[in-house]
Point group: C2
Chain length 319, copies 2
C-alpha cells in the first residue's frame, strides 16, 4: 500500500533521477530497449545500517557506496553500466533532509557514471535503514569477464591498493589514526574500476571485485578454476596511509573487505598488455602472486618463500 506522502516523496526526490526508460516512475515498471549485440549484466546487493555502513554516515555517501558497490560488480564482469532499481526502507519519521541528501548522492554518481534510475520502491520499517539496489549493465556478447577462467601459471593481479577499506572502517569508527581522512574516505566511497574492467576484456582470464577481502576473493577465483594460488605478502600494494598504519594491521588489509578493487588473472605472456591497460585508464595494476595446479586454496607467504609467516593469524591458508 502506497501512502500519499510516499507519492510526494518519490516525485520530489526520486523522479528527477529517472531516465526515459523509467517512464517518470509513473507506470508499474520501466521499459528498456536492449542494445543489439550486447548481453545484459545484472546484479543486486543489499546494505543495512549497522552492518554495511555506520548509522551516522552521511546519507549521500551511503547512497553512493551502495551504487558503487553494485557498479563494482559490473566492473568485475567487464560491463558498462546502464541503470539501476532501488528499494529504500526507512523509519516512518525519517526527515525530508535525509531523502534530499540521499538522492543528491545518487544524482552526483549518476552524472559521474552516466546512468539513471529505472524504478524502485520506498517503504517504512521499524528497524535500521535497509537498502537494496539492482544494477543493469551491458557487455559485448561473449566478452564478459568471468570468475572461473584462471589457468595454472597465470599471474594474480590487483588494481589500486588493498586494505584501505578495512582500515577505513577503523578510521571511521575512530579507532585508527587517519589524519587526512584518506582511509575513512576509501571506506565510505569505493571507486568502481569500470574503465579497467572494460579494458581487460580479452586480456584477463578471470576477474572479480575484492569485496570480501583479498585472500577470500582470490580463494573464489581458485575454487571457480580448480586451482591453488600463492599470494606474495610483500607484493601486495598498500597505500601510504595503510603502510603507515603499521605491521599489526597488515593481516586486516589482506582479509578485510570493502576494497572494491579488481583481482584478476592473466597469463605471464599478457603482462605487458595488462600494464598497458592499466596505464590507458590511469589505474595502477600490480602482480601479487600466481595460480598453480593443486587443491583450491590460497597460501600467503613472505617473499623469502620459506614459511607461511602469518600462520598464527589463522588466515594464511584459506580454502
Amino acid at each position: 500500500v502506497t501512502l500519499a506522502n510516499e507519492f510526494d516523496r518519490i516525485a520530489r526526490h526520486f523522479r528527477p533521477l529517472a531516465g526515459p526508460a523509467a517512464l517518470d516512475l509513473g507506470d508499474d515498471a520501466a521499459l528498456l530497449d536492449p542494445p543489439p549485440g550486447l548481453q545484459l549484466v545484472v546484479s543486486a546487493d543489499a546494505m543495512v545500517a549497522g552492518v554495511h555502513f555506520l548509522p551516522g554516515d552521511p546519507p549521500d555517501l551511503v547512497a553512493r557506496k551502495l551504487l558503487r558497490a553494485n557498479l563494482s560488480d559490473l566492473a568485475a564482469m567487464g560491463a558498462d553500466p546502464l541503470g539501476y532499481l532501488l528499494t529504500v526502507s526507512v523509519a516512518r519519521d525519517t526527515p525530508e533532509a535525509w531523502f534530499a541528501a540521499f538522492s543528491a548522492g545518487l544524482a552526483a554518481d549518476q552524472a559521474e557514471f552516466g546512468i539513471s534510475l529505472l524504478g524502485g520502491d520506498t517503504t517504512s520499517t521499524s528497524g535500521p535503514v535497509s537498502l537494496s539496489l539492482t544494477i543493469i549493465g551491458t557487455v559485448p556478447r561473449g566478452e564478459a569477464l568471468r570468475r572461473g577462467g584462471a589457468r595454472p601459471g597465470d599471474d594474480i593481479w590487483v588494481s589500486g591498493t588493498i586494505g584501505d577499506g578495512a582500515l577505513g572502517l577503523l578510521a571511521a569508527q575512530g579507532t585508527l589514526a587517519d589524519p587526512d581522512g584518506f582511509l575513512a574516505d576509501r571506506y565510505r566511497l569505493p571507486r568502481p574500476r569500470l574503465a579497467l574492467g572494460r579494458t581487460l576484456r580479452g586480456v584477463a582470464t578471470a576477474c572479480l571485485d575484492v569485496s570480501d577481502g583479498l585472500v577470500q576473493d582470490v580463494g573464489h577465483l581458485c575454487r571457480a578454476a580448480g586451482l591453488g594460488a600463492v599470494i606474495e605478502a610483500g607484493w601486495v600494494p598498500l597505500s601510504a596511509a595503510a603502510a603507515t598504519a603499521g605491521a599489526e594491521h597488515f593481516a586486516r588489509c589482506l582479509t578485510g573487505g570493502d576494497d572494491y578493487e579488481l583481482a584478476f588473472a592473466a597469463p605471464a605472456a599478457a603482462a605487458a598488455a595488462v600494464r598497458a591497460a592499466g596505464i590507458a585508464v590511469a589505474t595502477p595494476v600490480t602482480v601479487v602472486g600466481r595460480f598453480a595446479a593443486g587443491d583450491p586454496g590460497v597460501q600467503v607467504r613472505r617473499t623469502d618463500g620459506t614459511a607461511p609467516a602469518l600462520a598464527s593469524a589463522g588466515w594464511d591458508h584459506f580454502a
Copy 2:
C-alpha cells in the same frame, strides 16, 4: 563482507533456484541474452515484516507474495516474466528452517510461472525481515500496457474480485470471521494476472494492478490520462466471502490494498473483445465504471446515480 556460512546458505537454498543466466550465482553478476524484438520490463518492490506481511506468516508464503506482487507489476504491463533478483536481510540467528521454507516457496512459484533466480544477496539485520525483489520480463516492442492511455468514455474494467486482500488482512489478524480461510489466503497469496495482461495487449488502452486500493489506483489512471472517472459501487465484483462480510466492510473493499487484480480501460466498442480475452484465460472481467473528460478524480456512486452515498467515509471523491 560475505561470511562463510552465508556461502553455505546460498549454495544450499538459493543455488538450486538459479537458471543458466545466473551462472550458478558464482560470478559477480548474471548474464542475460535479451530476446530479439522484445523490450525489457523491469520493476522492484520491497516488503518488510510488520508492514507488508505479518511476522508470523509462513516464510514460503512470504516469499511467494513478494514474487507475486512483482509478477503483478509485469501483468499490468502486459509482460511475460523472465527472472528475478532477490535480496534478503534477516536476523543473524535466523534458523535454517526459515531459509528452507522461504526457498521452497520460491521454487514452487518458479515452477508455476516459468522463471528462475538471476542473482541477489543475503545479509543480516538487527531489525525485521526486509526483502527486496527486482523482476525482469519482456514484451513485444511497443505493445506494453501503460497507465496513461485511457480516453473519455472508456469503460473501467477490473479482473477477479475486489477487496479480498484487504479483508484477508483482517481475517489473518483474527478480527474478521473467515471460516474456510478464503480471505486470509487471498491476502497471503496474490494471483498475478499474467495471462490476462498478455491477452489485453492491443485491447486495453491503459492498465495497472490494484495494489493501493481500487479507488486510489483508478485515480492513478485518471491522473495519468488527465481524466475523471465514476465507479459504480454496485458494479464492483465481490467474492462471496467479501459479500458475506457485510456492508460495514464495503468501504474497505474499495480502498484497501493487496488485491493484485488488474484495473484497465477499454473503449466501449472493445467490450466484446475484453470479455473474450477474459474467457480465453479463464479470468472474470467486470465493468465497474467509466472515464470522462474533467478534472482528474474518482467519484464513487450508488447505481441510482443520485448521491455520493459513501461521502461520510471520506473516500468517495479521491483526487
